[in-house]
């Protein structure tokens, strides 16, 4: 895998045996792989010289870290207060029904992942979701369905060209 070749760059950035770099390292690994593979967590543990159990304990504590690959489109549903009072739960349910997965899961074809976030800070256009960091605000069930169709078409097209 070509990805493997980049690894020394990540580890070289951080001094060995310095546990305070742990989270930075994990963030870099996740950026590289999209998630935290077991083998990399073991590598991280060796680098900072702490038990693997501690690396895993830290990784599972924070929302950011994933242990499975993510979908091509990561849909973040804002569950902030402003979004909640504007109906973001309904948006989430619709999304879950449409894609047939629950929040935190990825579709079988690795196309979509649904995540919930505490607040993306775009309260002015609540309820809001972000698909791969592209914001979509002021959603209703209907506009969401339309939006989703667009992405599904796009992913189908990508498949054909690929």
């Amino acid at each position: 895998m070509t990805k493997q070749q980049h690894m020394p760059e990540i580890y070289g950035k951080y001094p060995k045996k310095d546990a305070s770099c742990l989270i930075d390292l994990l963030q870099d690994v996740q950026e590289q792989f999209g998630y935290l593979p077991d083998s990399e967590m073991q590598q991280v543990a060796k680098h900072v010289d702490i038990p693997v159990s501690r690396v895993y304990g830290v990784a599972t504590f924070y929302n950011q870290f994933r242990f499975q690959p993510l979908g091509k489109y990561v849909i973040k549903v804002c569950r902030g207060t402003a979004c909640h009072v504007q109906g973001s739960l309904g948006i989430l349910t619709t999304l879950e029904n449409e894609l047939g997965i629950k929040a935190g899961q990825t579709t079988k074809d690795l196309m979509f992942t649904i995540e919930t976030v505490a607040c993306i800070g775009a309260c002015s256009i609540a309820p809001v979701i972000a698909i791969n960091d592209e914001f979509h605000g002021g959603l209703t069930t209907k506009s969401l369905q339309k939006l989703l169709r667009g992405y599904q078409k796009r992913s189908a097209k990508d498949e054909v060209t690929a």
Binding site: D38, M41, Q42, A45, K46, I50, P51, V52, S53, R54, V55, Y56, G57, T60, F61
Partner: protein, 570 residues
Amino acid sequence: MNITLNGHTCWAKPGETILDVSRREGVNIPTLCHMSDFSPTGSCRLCTVEVENAGSLVPACAYPVHEGMEVRTNSPRVRRARKTIIELLIANHPQDCLFCVRSGNCELQKLTQEYGVRTHRYEGERRRARIDIASPAIERDPEKCILCGRCVRVCHEVQHVGAIDFVHRGFKSAVAPALERSLNTVPCVDCGQCVVNCPVGALTEKSNQKPVWEAINDPERFVVVQVAPAVRVALGEEFGAEPGTVVTGKTVAALRRLGFDRVFDTNFSADLTIIEEANELLGRLKNEGVTPMLTSCSPGWVKFIEHYYPDLLGNLSSCKSPHEMQGALLKSYYAQKIGVDPSRMYVVSVMPCTAKKYEAQRPELGGAYADVDAVITTRELARMIRVAGIDFFKLPNEGFDDPLGESTGAGAIFGAAGGVMEAALRTAHFYLTGSDMKSLTFAPIRGLDGVKQADVRIGDFTLKVAAVSGLKNIKSLLDDMRDGTSPFHFIEVMACPGGCVNGGGQPLPTTPEKVRLRTESIYQIDRESPRRCSHRNESVQKLYAEFLGEPNGHTAHELLHTHYVARDEF
């Protein structure tokens, strides 16, 4: 300084916590996460007390005293808070006390009784998780875990193993091995310190009572049992005796009544170990072999070095641990002697240890048959005695069977940290000088300190030795060895802090005070022994003459020595 505790003025030192003062004053404050000699985590909140003008309740374990402070440990507000916390724990705990191995000896159960919890006040979702039975030594039932964190702390801070840690967050929090695998697939050393620190039934030894009962009940089997040095100073606690009570004779009697065909003493092979080990050491010194030599009686320690310092395996003594030596001899020397087919013989070891369960399964320990067939802990033996309806303290004192029952004081002190070293020095002195030393007591390597060192003059040779217990303490010494800067010739290592008296299979709960008392009794047995040096054990001498030949000789090597395996850190 002075503080007011429940209306009474009492004296306190600056830097003490409310808990320290209360315990000294005889005021009980319940705790679950508290561990003496550790920095407080303040996670269980059971020790909450009321401090005048502090606003909310404060944790007694973490809150320092200050002059004139007014503390109430028993106000309605405090009692209500504690009871609610217990109720919350119960709400997320399997309600199966009836079947739980810790029933009657469970800290949560005790608190439930003390605080008069009589109903389920809160009901709802419970944590669901599978029991992990894959390890040969330790069973984990995460549903029973109350997340006090004591096991995690002892595993990381005392043992520096870190096989388990907290995972996930909030209500989903759990204690689990790395990557949530089962315990046997992570570098756990099976020392069982997590077990002796667990307040509930979440961590227990993997029980071998059933196969042992089956063997006893099988008329075809010739079932032989041996008892480790540290068992006899702890077993009495299971039947209500004061910690440290020596119950050797009653233990032997109980084992006979359970139906074992022969009852032998691991102290015998401890003496044997000393002969082999002392000879090995002198050989290494004479022939400029690999030093420092490291002892190999503690299977948790052996697994530790295999996982974390495999490059230093050459330093490890090749001697099997005493009970394995005993097993090997029972199935060869003794079987031959009494004319029993070794395939019919079933060897059971009663050990203060969980790692011995794993050790007994090592393929290299045994030839055609495993040296030892089953290991049960002190706690399991107590359960067997109870189920057999034996009234332990009404038993007469009985002696071990011959010939693998004779032992010296040197074998006895294997049960305490520093004991192996002391016993080896007594014999090494004899081998080097031809005479026993004047005083057989080595004060510098006794006691519960994690690292003890001494320079021992034997003739014109100065032997530099260290005795280490608790795996955290060995790390810096091993790092020195890696760097080639270690000054030592001989190092004793015990996985558990304090040695076998504080082993993972000992009666619960274990406290530092109990460990101290058990240690004292170990040395008392030594003091009162007619012979106190391993080379004075007549049965051992006879064994060499009749069967083994020379120490470290060919037969000895085949039966009493072993080899080690480098294991992955993960």
